[in-house]
Structure formats: structure tokens, C-alpha cells
């Protein structure tokens, strides 16, 4: 009996897993170069390393979102309403551990809803219901004459 329910990997966790290696490399080299005593080099390495990390991750996030919005706006809105993100949801397992039906739960539920709506569609036109105008239709209608 297992009560394990898979949950979304949090965006902060994913961001930490993505950036821990480049941040570690940057800090390592800034420390190594600080032994030379030149503060400007250390500052340049720190700004360059952290800035490049932020720029690359920001670029990927922005353009994944932009392309998703431009090519599949309904998918983008669905994911936004469910608290998902096109880029964070698309990352592979070392960064995002959630299974596909958890990552894309809004899309799966919407697809299931649309399939059911298609399978349960009315096959004959429904008769008009409870419309007061139906009782006198064709009698007082001046457009018929």
C-alpha cells in the first residue's frame, strides 16, 4: 500500500538544479583567481559567470514561452492557468522529476474533456425547449405571409 502521489517539481528546485553547477564553477574560479590578489579579475569572473548563467537560462525561458504562445496560445493559457510553465515543464528528469501526466495535467485533462465532448455529442438536432415563442410560431409571424 503506497500513498505516494507524484507532484510537480517546484520551479525553485529546478532553477537550483540547473544553476548549481555554473554557479559552483564561477565561485571556484573566482576563489582561485582571488589568490592572485587582483580584485578586478575576481569581479569580472563573478559578473561574467553569474551573468552568463542568468542570461542563458533567461533566454531559454523567454523564447520557449514566446514560441509556445505564438504557435499554441491555448496551450500557453492552459498551462499558465494551471500554474505550469512551458519551459520548466519541458526539462528532462535530472532537473524535473515529475511524470508526464503530472507535468502536463492541464493539457491531458483538456484533451480528455474534448474527446468526451466529441464522443457524447448529440447526433440529432435537439428540439427547441421551453421557448415561449414556439407556441405561436407560424401563427402570428408576419414574415411567413
Amino acid at each position: 500500500m503506497s500513498s505516494f502521489v507524484p507532484r510537480r517539481t517546484s520551479k525553485l528546485t529546478i532553477l537550483f538544479r540547473l544553476s548549481i553547477v555554473p554557479i559552483g564553477v564561477t565561485l571556484f574560479w573566482s576563489f582561485m583567481l582571488s589568490l592572485g590578489g587582483n580584485g578586478e579579475v575576481v569581479r569580472a569572473v563573478l559578473i561574467g559567470g553569474l551573468g552568463t548563467t542568468a542570461a542563458v537560462l533567461g533566454f531559454l525561458w523567454f523564447f520557449t514561452n514566446a514560441m509556445t504562445f505564438l504557435t499554441m496560445p491555448k496551450v500557453w493559457w492552459l498551462m499558465r492557468k494551471g500554474g505550469a510553465d512551458p519551459w520548466f515543464s519541458s526539462l528532462p528528469p535530472p532537473f524535473n522529476n515529475a511524470p508526464p501526466h503530472v507535468r502536463y495535467q492541464e493539457l491531458f485533462e483538456e484533451k480528455l474533456r474534448q474527446e468526451n465532448a466529441w464522443l457524447l455529442r448529440p447526433l440529432v438536432p435537439l428540439p427547441p425547449q421551453n421557448d415561449p415563442k414556439d407556441a405561436t410560431r407560424g401563427i402570428d409571424d408576419p414574415h411567413i405571409i
Partner: protein, 37 residues
């Protein structure tokens, strides 16, 4: 010319990968639909 071919190859490979990703996602959806509840 070479640059054009490289860009073309990247576009073709990316679109093929996109088709594969869509197929995998659809298979995940079908498996989820069968196994739910």
C-alpha cells in the same frame, strides 16, 4: 551555401524531433487515460 545547408539541417532535425516529442506525449496521454482510476 554551407551556412544555409546547416540552418536547413537544424530546422529539419528540429521539426523531426518535434514530431517525436509529440508522439511520445500522445503515448503518455493514452497510457494515462487507460490507467486512471
Amino acid at each position: 551555401m554551407e551556412i544555409f545547408l546547416i540552418v536547413l539541417a537544424v530546422i529539419v532535425l528540429a521539426s523531426l524531433q518535434y514530431q517525436v516529442d509529440l508522439k511520445v506525449l500522445h503515448d503518455d496521454y493514452e497510457r494515462w487515460k487507460r490507467n486512471r482510476k
